[in-house]
């Protein structure tokens, strides 16, 4: 009898959802996504729409390898007087370099690729190598609802909380029921 019971007890434990352990890489990835979201300039929109830019319409038939050109420039809309006779001050046509810099916006990832710093020898310092090293201590968990110490973690999505009240609020509002 005793050996049989032990085996049943063991098999029940394996199926128990409460003993789910979240992989640290997943948690790390989720934090990274959250940090990237915190870099946004405006809450409500995608990066392409912005002040002064028209709605998305790719320049049909004009694809030239640089990507979509802007239709209008916001720097044309500012009405200020500059002294002197530089192209910025007068309405003279700007040089080719300036015009292409104004018309094509590249995001940072593209610029980093184009700069070729990834292919430098490892001893050369660059933007990519200058990051401070990862922490030696584990992260201090703060309750995601009220900000006190987060001593317990949600079973489904691993967000920390501090007590039963906060757990209730978390499950009703923010729990995604999965880590990512």
């Amino acid at each position: 009898m005793p050996p049989k019971r032990t085996r049943e007890h063991l098999s029940r434990q394996v199926n128990d959802a409460t003993s789910l352990v979240h992989a640290p890489e997943l948690l790390e990835k989720r934090t990274q996504i959250h940090l990237d979201q915190l870099e946004k300039s405006n809450y409500n929109e995608s990066a392409s729409l912005a002040v002064g830019e028209d709605d998305d319409e790719p320049a049909v038939g004009k694809y030239n390898g640089k990507g979509r050109a802007r239709q209008t420039l916001i720097s044309d809309k500012i009405n200020v007087k500059l002294a002197g006779n530089s192209p910025a001050a007068t309405k003279k046509k700007s040089t080719m370099n300036i015009r292409s810099a104004l018309l094509y916006r590249k995001n940072l990832a593209t610029l980093i690729e184009e700069s070729g710093i990834a292919s430098l020898p490892p001893s050369a310092p660059s933007y990519l190598t200058a990051v401070a090293s990862p922490p030696k201590y584990p992260p201090r968990l703060i309750c995601s609802v009220c900000g006190y110490w987060g001593e317990y973690k949600c079973r489904k999505c691993a967000m920390p909380y501090c007590d039963l009240n906060c757990e209730g609020i978390h499950i009703e509002t923010r729990c995604e029921r999965r880590v990512l």
Binding site: S41, I74, S75, K81, L82, G84, L111, S123
Partner: protein, 428 residues
């Protein structure tokens, strides 16, 4: 013959600090702080460029367009519009064709972006000459660490986009020892927006207002545990601005009562848990980044760096920043090293003031690239003239030890007592 003006443009991602260096014929003007953004106000139904933002009446739900992304210029259209505004009669009123320029760039600026800086300065604005450098390389010229500045110093620059730890030897940056944390004012404001939006009012679109709340209410606590467990005396109430009566947002003063029409933000642990991110983040925190940076230098000169740490950048203005940093560094530094932290009177404009000092020195013009040189050899002239991280790329093998210049024993030279606050301590 009138001397050419020197225009200083400390081109930050959050704020541009702009001004003209006074010479004999012009008088001193104060520095202009221009937000580096184009905003659209839904209430005013108008778009404001840079310096015009001061004219905006309705700050709620301002839509921001920033030329900078993660600390580098990606949107040149927006940047040009803001620069046009700064150079125009509405702000500085300077004739760029008759002026020299000092322009700051981010640390480890990408070479393709650097070329565009050169193009705008010489082909669009046609400045007669210019010097492009990082803000930290200007600090030795200023008064923050005394005159002459110490041979070994460490600059902590915590701004809008990120925070860097920059060691300098004899005024030159040691590029291989720089460490970067991707925490800046922008991330802190957005984090505060999230916390407040979840717990009280939805402020996700109110970047301008939350930025002001952050600057008014937040501080760095010296003992996080103690502060978190005793929130009673820490609660502050911030009265939100009222757009219809154009009242600005402000703190509730003691013994003042709240009127019914006012909306109030309750600031509790957010006050200190938001700036705490600088000190404890996923990637290290600031104190360990400083320790790491110093540890990567020659052992003999490390104590000199611990003694000469200076703070610049808007984020260092949080009350309690210096004390907290000192406490953490005292713990990390070797027992026989003094820890000295210098804080300027105005961390935001410190690089600007140092640039002004630099511009008045006779050797300044030797460091400038003239328009004639640029038109002849393009950006390679800039690469030769401006010392930056690319000059350290080895094609021959150079290690850190052979690299920097010889360092004298500092006690052999007299030093004027520096301005700024000094904190010292000796571990026993």
């Amino acid at each position: 013959m009138p001397k050419t003006n020197v225009v200083v443009l400390d081109n930050g991602a959050g704020t541009i600090k702009a001004g003209i260096v006074p010479n004999d014929s012009t008088e001193e003007q104060s520095v202009k702080l221009v937000p580096n953004a184009i905003v659209r106000s839904k209430g005013d139904k108008a778009t404001y460029f840079g310096h015009q933002i001061a004219n905006c009446k309705d700050y709620s739900s301002l839509h921001y367009r920033l030329p900078f992304e993660k600390g580098f210029i990606v949107d040149w259209d927006a940047q040009k519009a803001i620069w046009d505004g700064i150079f125009s009669q509405e702000a500085l009123g300077v004739d760029s064709t008759e002026s020299s320029l000092i322009l700051t760039e981010p640390y480890f600026n990408l070479p393709n972006i650097q070329e565009i800086y050169d193009q705008f300065v010489f082909e669009e604005y046609e400045f007669s000459s210019y010097h492009r450098c990082t803000p930290a390389s200007l600090i030795p010229h200023g008064k923050l660490l005394g005159s002459p500045p110490p041979e070994c110093m460490l600059v902590v620059d915590s701004g809008f986009s990120f925070t860097h730890v920059i060691p300098l030897i004899n005024g030159n940056i040691v590029w291989s020892s720089i460490r970067r944390l991707d925490v800046g004012g922008k991330l802190l404001t957005n984090h505060l927006k999230e916390l407040v939006s979840f717990r009280q009012w939805n402020m996700m679109e109110e970047t301008y207002i939350m930025n002001h709340v952050k600057e008014t209410c937040c501080y760095v606590s010296t003992d996080f545990k103690k502060d978190l467990e005793s929130t009673r005396p820490i609660v502050q109430k911030y009265i939100l601005p009222d757009m219809s009566t154009s009242r600005k947002g402000r703190l509730l003063r003691p013994r003042e009562t709240i009127m019914d029409s006012e909306q109030v933000l309750l600031m509790k642990n957010e006050r200190f848990s938001v700036p705490e991110i600088i000190f404890r983040l996923n990637q290290s925190g600031l104190p360990s980044a400083i320790a790491e940076s110093i540890a990567s230098l020659l052992e003999d000169i490390q104590p000199m760096f611990w003694e000469n740490i200076s703070l610049i950048g808007g984020n260092t203005k949080f009350p309690g920043f210096r004390e907290r940093l000192f406490a953490e560094l005292r713990f990390l530094a070797p027992m026989d090293c003094e820890v000295g932290i210098y804080e300027s009177d105005d961390p935001v404009t410190e690089a600007y003031s140092s640039a002004k000092e630099f511009a008045t020195k006779p050797e300044f013009h030797g460091h400038c690239l003239t328009r004639a040189e640029y038109l002849e050899c393009g950006s390679s002239g800039a690469r030769r003239k401006f010392r930056d991280w690319k000059t350290k790329i080895p094609s021959k093998e150079t290690t850190m030890k052979d690299d920097g210049p010889q360092v004298q024993n500092a006690s052999q030279r007299p030093r004027v007592r520096p301005r700024g606050v000094l904190l010292e301590g000796r571990g026993r």
